[in-house]
Amino acid sequence: MSPPQLYACLYVKEFTAQALLRLRPELREKPCAVMEGEPPLQQVCSLNAKARRMGVLTGMTQVEMETFPAVTLLPRSIQEETATRMALLECAGSFTPRVEEASTERAFLCVLDIAGTEKLFGPADTFAEKLKNHVKALGITASVAVSQNFHAAICLARGMSSRTTVTVIPAGAESAALAPLPLSVLALSEEHAEKFALWGIRTLGTLAALPENDLIARMGQEGKRLRQLALGNLPHLFLPVEPTSTLEEYRELDSPLEILDSLLFVVGVMLEQLILRATSRMLALAALTIVLRLEAGGSHTRTVRPALPTNDRQFWIKLLHLDLEAHPPQAPILSLALTAEPGSTSKVQLGLFSPQLPEPGRLDVTLARIRAIVGEECVGRAVLRDTHQPNEFRMEPFTVGAKNGAEISCTQPRVALRQFRPPEKISVTLQNERPTSFFLQKKRYIIEKAYGPWRTSGDWWNPELWNVEQWDLVAHSADGSLLCGCVARDVARNCWEMVALYD
């Protein structure tokens, strides 16, 4: 005989909106809609009942929403949804250790295995009430359906009207309870939904009434499965959620800390724990995020990510030290949270005859040192961008290229150029729109020859359009020194710069 089964399904509709309103109790009584998408093309993705009653629909755009001034618009927040999900799972976990999650993108759904909880929580309906109220305390409106069949509980929770929030199906009454529900609770594939629509099958009851063998002959095993779902007797192998493991350590400090060294001492202890936990699972730390809550309010978050995952505590401390030195918190620290991202421990196999490379750990430390000095965006290798804009490049992290640097062939002799970085501002005198003289480093130069202007402009469709004129000049100063150089004029701002000297 199989052990007794009893499942409770917890179902949260409009989860996206509810997750946001959970921490905003003041908005719960007002019509609210959640917007998703890149501006200016956001659309409504979820909304509360009040907004729905006003005629708001999912998929409406920002401009359409402007016709509903009473509706509060909130941006979607995946973080808050995750936090709410965790809270809900945790809440479910406090009722039973066996919880299976079956959420969809817009709805939260989990099933609790509550067989044998009667002594703790009372009969099923009491259990369901308790669960619902518990969730209510979290600020979430949910419905709960209890059944001996896992899937029946889910179908019932999905198909419940908004007035009832708790339903318990007595044993053996699954099919009767499911019969009036629409097929939409089954999450059918498009193909099947279309087929059933053609057949005039609209409720689980009519689906269940189809002869089984004939249905299998037409739809295969999937037909059998759907029919069993409709009858409420499809068996289910329960897959409880793994207790989520996050490599996270949190510590409240006894007194506000200001000195970095003492902070690093605390960090060291926490790191040890983290490394221990990671090692026990044959993992290494790939990245470390430190969140410092500050006395002045707010927090200070830094993340370090070396080239390779490692469990070297000293190394991590060194990296964090360098990073925090470069980006110190602006107020005394009240608490700190360390979150590590796990990565696999890896070893790089080097060729026997390949030259000795610097040890990755040491290279990371060196790079971190350099970054701390020159800034994050200035480390790496410069790569030219595909644009006509002069001097445009971006930085890329160092990588070992697959091919050797291609030989650049050049048929014309080219002039060597000394570029000013940054360019030097100059003042220029013009005659007939051509430069005649300029001041560079307080020295006046008379222009003998001016070639140009060479014009480049682009990105006209963007706010940061550019428009530059360049001149190649041969000029003499009063003391007779010769200068061959290139000056540029930003046309929009009408400012002149010396950008390079010709050798």
């Binding site: 005039g200 002959a217 037409r218 644009t387 014309q412 060479w454 014009r455 006209w460 469709w461 360049q470």
Partner: protein, 1072 residues
């Protein structure tokens, strides 16, 4: 000294996506800059040259014609060096050439044709050195800018390579015909190439020429070019990088600017003026030679034509047994033939006659439309079925001595296949280089502009889809139908800078060419020499070639063309001619249809759904007033519901006179014979011509010139001269000034839109035939029209419902009976009914349906779904389901209703292994039960409309009638009994929405219920308020006062409500 400069290297938007200004725009700018001439060199073609030439001529600018020719033998064009990141793809260099003489132009056309036709399908193509060598005479070659061979050679191999390539070009074109080109776009890289080019020119003693390699008229247009570049490379502006222009300097520069840029090489500027004066060719002297028709020995084309016409006159007129008419006809034919001979057009008439002969011998129904029906020669040659002598039509409207252009004959053929057959015959008869289709320039319109610019600016596909569904396509545009409004409706915030730019660019690229398509039926013919006149290229449709000019361009340049147009109604008539003898046992001759009072009665009642030309809402609204009684009334009817007469305010006076509400009067007694037929109101272009001839003693040719002068808005000057002449003529005839003004007003107000009487007569003939067939042979007519969809004004669903209201029994699709096409069936009681064809099962492949029919014919009825699936393996499960769903399997044994069939095909359509294919009892369904419930009425309706687009059962409104009656909603039939001014409420399914250009924003809805069609007028105000309801709803409840004037009934809506339509996806035809 004031500088002089001529731009000789300019590309227009006809360099498809490589130029950003219309040719007219370039000319306009040249005029502003005081440039005496300008040269157009588009990529691989002379696509824009006709417009360029016409526009330049109008503005007294000399238009030099040339092209940039892709040459594969000279290597790839310049791209940024490999070490710079870029996305340039390799393309052959392009060599700019200009036509010096007519020979040069002919060579250019042949050159382009040669390399374009070498390709098996539509593509850019490239010339080889051999091509250039063959066709170099008369062409002047420039070395090109950065897309040219010199720049590419200089960068690839330095000055040595550059010099070599220039020498090579010199060998091909001759020393005196090569100019080393210098362009200065203020780009650093370009300048060293210029210096090298100057040295090479000096060394080879070649002249240098300054150009600006123009791509757009104004600096600002560089933005459009950048957008085009992004579109051309299927990328976004943000990602295009070095593909985009470096700066905005490729605009049309003034002589002063150019002189200042080329201060150091002044002769480069002078040479542009010199070269321009050398280029004597203009597009006027095309050297187009009239096609010849091969005639038997001993005959000239004229004598051959004369014989054919004489035969035709006998054939056409002798059966009429009217000696007087015959004499007049002979006289008219003589007059026409003399003119034809004088103008040398005999070949053209014979070519068209030849096509007609081909059609006749291949059982293709053919009729001309347009002014050719004015010609007795055309009547005799059976080009038209309208007797111009009997109808007293004016020949000069078709052909006149002074027009200086070819006559224009448009032939209507039954659609698609037959037309293709005729087109292929012309190709075959005149050879690949002798005939081609005219082009159709596809330009950016609201939707395409919004979509492509949006893509270039990086908007996602969903958003763009939403937007383009909102861009209005109505003919009439209200002030809120702007693109800006559509953008706003699509949820775009116009304050956002990128969206504002998006809107701006979408509007700026409107009507710029996108690519070249082919015209649906326009063919140009030239005796094997077409490639001397205009380049030909492959069309995307296999077996078709297309010239680089569109219909108007060809006509502007006097190239002869024959339009072979598809006219759905011709196919319907053709089908009727077969169906009627077969099912009614009555012989029928289209040329001898009797004048039938019943047909006229039907027309008078505007009961005209499905009839040619008289079925639109506006036609229906005027038919009871016009009250046609004889054939000529239909000619007027066809002509009067047109923008011309409506705008010229001719319609109402005519209708009032027709109804005897206003006395018939004439502007002058002299005009009575001219205007008598149309009750004193000028309606036809022929009447305009005659008016001028009668009151001002104009010759036929002068009168035609007057019509054309009025027709062309631009020729005010010519018009002024003619008006002077008209007035002096009228004064000579003793007309007073008021009458003169009146007549001139009459002429100018309608000549713009006037309709040729001959054209109206041709159409009226078809209209009468369609009406006759519909009234007399409803089953055959309905069958024919359903088999030739899409055509006309109404969807098949409306046609079926209309036929049913007229007593035709329409049977549903049934696999045991139906063919692919609809068929006529004989009922037990002897009456005829219509059987819907399998072709109306939407989603059923013709091949599968034909296999089904073949199996049924061979092996008899299908016994079960299993039997059907086994005997017709070509039918896939989706098709079986579709057939079951629409009830086509209901006649199978063991099938009681559609869901039974659905249940059975689901099993029958399954793929099974060989073991299961045997009829083993154990493998049969174990329950004989039919577990699915029968469809209810609404489900059946939905299935009918979803699967066939129509229902042969009761109209959806029928099922709602009881409920509607309680709400005091009247049916279409009940509306007819209401008095004018009564406030009524009605409801129905929208079958057509129309917003005609002449109706000032009013919208006309045709609303169908089970009793008929009701007309609703929606005011612009109401439309503004209920835009979504009007454009989106299928079923409407309308309230408002009823207008019942002269039997024409409208509801003037004051309130509109959508009402639940049970998700029926009924389609309406929206006309714009």
């Amino acid at each position: 000294m004031t500088e002089r400069y001529v731009e000789l290297h300019a590309a227009s938007a006809f360099s498809f996506l490589e130029g950003a200004s219309q040719p007219e725009g370039l000319v306009e700018r040249a005029v502003e800059l005081g440039m005496p001439a300008i040269g157009l060199t588009d990529r691989n073609g002379v696509y824009g040259s006709a417009r360029f030439h016409t526009s330049a001529k109008r503005n007294s600018v000399r238009a030099h014609i040339g092209a940039e020719i892709a040459v594969s033998s000279f290597g790839s064009r310049l791209t940024p060096p490999a070490w710079l990141p870029h996305q340039h793809v390799s393309e052959p260099v392009r060599l700019p050439v200009l036509c010096e003489s007519p020979t040069g132009y002919q060579n250019l056309c042949q050159l382009i044709t040669q390399f374009k036709m070498r390709e098996p399908n539509k593509c850019e193509g490239a010339a080889t050195i051999e091509d250039l060598q063959q066709h170099a005479t008369g062409l002047v070659c420039l070395t090109g800018g950065d897309e040219g061979p010199l720049a590419a050679a200089l960068v690839a191999g330095g000055e040595t390579a550059g010099r070599k390539i220039v020498e090579q070009i010199t060998e091909i074109f001759g020393r005196e015909n090569v100019y080393v080109e210098l362009q200065r776009h203020q780009e650093r890289e370009e300048e060293w190439r210029n210096q090298a080019a100057i040295r090479i020119a000096r060394a080879l003693k070649l002249p240098v020429l300054a150009t600006n390699g123009v791509r757009y008229a104004m600096e600002y247009d560089r933005q459009i070019l950048d957008v085009f570049t992004a579109i051309r490379h299927h990328t976004e502006l943000d990602q295009a990088g070095r593909l985009l222009a470096l700066n905005n300097q490729r605009y049309l520069r003034s002589a002063k600017e150019m002189a200042s840029l080329f201060r150091d090489v002044p002769h480069a500027i002078q040479n542009s003026v010199e070269l321009s004066s050398r280029l004597t060719f203009a597009l006027d002297d095309l050297g187009y030679e009239f096609p010849r028709y091969p005639v038997p020995e001993g005959d000239t084309m004229d004598s051959f034509l004369r014989k054919r016409v004489a035969e035709g006159v006998a054939r056409r007129y002798e059966p009429k047994k009217n000696q007087h008419l015959l004499e007049r006809a002979k006289k008219q034919v003589e007059h026409e033939l003399t003119l034809v001979a004088k103008l040398g057009f005999a070949g053209y008439f014979l070519i068209v006659w030849d096509i007609i002969q081909f059609c006749k011998s291949h059982d293709i129904l053919v009729q001309c439309r347009g002014s050719a029906a004015n010609s007795a020669v055309c009547y005799a040659l059976e080009i038209t079925a309208i007797d111009p002598v009997g109808m007293e039509l004016l020949f000069e409207r078709f052909l006149s001595e002074s027009r200086g252009e070819w006559p224009d004959i448009d032939l209507d053929l039954p659609s698609v296949d037959k037309r293709e057959q005729a087109i292929q015959y012309v190709y075959q008869r005149y050879g690949e280089l002798g005939a081609a289709m005219t082009a159709n320039v596809i330009t950016y319109r609201g939707k395409s502009a919004a979509r492509e610019v949006g893509k270039a600016l990086g908007f996602d596909a969903d958003t763009l889809g939403r937007l383009s569904s909102l861009v209005s396509n109505w003919e009439w545009r209200g002030k809120t139908d702007t693109m800006a409004h559509s953008f706003h409706d699509a949820g775009f915030d116009l304050a956002h800078s990128r969206i504002a730019k998006y809107l701006d660019l979408s509007m700026r690229i409107q009507s710029l060419p996108r690519h070249l398509g082919q015209h649906s039926g326009g063919m140009v013919i030239c005796q094997g020499q077409l490639n001397h006149v205009v380049p030909l290229e492959r069309a995307s449709m296999p077996g078709r070639t297309v010239v680089q000019w569109d219909k108007e361009d060809c006509s502007d340049l006097g190239i002869i063309k024959v339009d072979l147009l598809g006219l759905g109604m011709m196919a319907v008539l053709k089908d009727c001619l077969e169906l009627i003898p077969q099912h009614y046992g009555e012989p029928i001759d289209l040329a001898q249809l009797p004048e039938d009072p019943e047909v006229y009665r039907t027309l008078q009642q505007a009961d005209t759904v499905g009839m040619f030309q008289v079925e639109s809402r506006a036609q229906m609204a005027s038919l009871p007033r016009n009250h046609p009684e004889v054939f000529y009334d239909i000619v007027v009817q066809v002509a009067i519901i047109r923008p011309g007469p409506i705008v010229g305010q001719m319609m109402h006076p005519y209708m009032r006179r027709r109804q005897h509400k206003e006395p018939v009067s004439y502007p002058h007694p002299l005009l009575e014979p001219v205007l008598k037929r149309t009750l004193g109101v000028p309606l036809f272009q022929e009447q305009l011509l005659r008016m001028a001839m009668v009151v001002a003693n104009f010759s036929g040719a002068e009168a035609e010139e007057l019509r054309r002068a009025v027709g062309m808005r631009r020729s005010w000057e010519r018009m002024k001269n003619l008006e002077g002449k008209l007035r002096s003529g009228m004064t000579a005839n003793g007309l007073d000034v008021t009458t003169q003004n009146n007549i001139i007003q009459n002429i100018s107000s309608f000549a713009l839109y006037g309709f040729p009487e001959s054209h109206a007569a041709s159409f009226a003939l078809i209209a009468y035939a369609s009406a006759y067939f519909k009234v007399k042979y409803l089953a055959a007519f309905t069958c024919a029209i359903l088999n030739n969809q899409p055509m006309g004004f109404y969807a098949p669903a409306v046609l079926v419902k209309d036929a049913q209201r007229h007593g035709l029994r329409v049977r549903p699709i049934d696999i045991q009976i139906s063919d692919w096409a609809c068929t006529v069936e004989r009922e037990h009681d002897g009456s005829l009914s219509l059987r819907m064809g399998l072709g109306y099962a939407q989603g059923l492949r013709q091949q599968a349906a034909e296999a089904l029919v073949a199996s049924r014919v061979r092996d008899g009825r299908f016994s079960s779904a299993e039997d059907l699936a086994q005997r017709v393996p070509l039918l896939n499960r989706k098709e079986l389901t579709l057939l079951a769903h629409i009830g086509a399997l209901n006649q199978l044994d063991g099938v009681e209703h559609r869901r039974d069939a659905l249940w059975q095909v689901e099993r029958a359509g399954k793929l099974e292994g060989p073991l299961f294919q045997r009829n083993v009892a154990s493998l049969q369904d174990d329950s004989e039960g039919k577990p699915l419930l029968q469809m209810n009425i609404e489900e059946r309706l939905i299935a009918d409309y979803a699967g066939t687009g129509l229902t042969v059962g009761k109209h959806p409104m029928h099922y709602r009638r009881a409920a509607l009656q309680q709400q005091h909603v009247l049916s279409a039939k009940e509306l007819r009994e209401q008095k004018d001014g009564n406030y009524v409420r009605t409801a129905g399914c929208i079958v057509a929405r129309q917003r005609p250009g002449t109706a000032k924003g009013f919208i006309f809805l045709s609303m169908e219920d089970e009793t008929g069609i009701a007309n609703v007028i929606v005011t612009p105000d109401l439309y503004e308020r209920e835009r979504l309801v009007v454009t989106r709803s299928k079923f409407l409840i309308v309230e408002g006062p009823l207008q019942n004037q002269d039997g024409v009934i409208h509801v003037k809506a004051t309130r509109l409500m959508a009402f639940s339509d049970g998700a029926l996806a009924l389609r309406s035809h929206d006309f714009h």
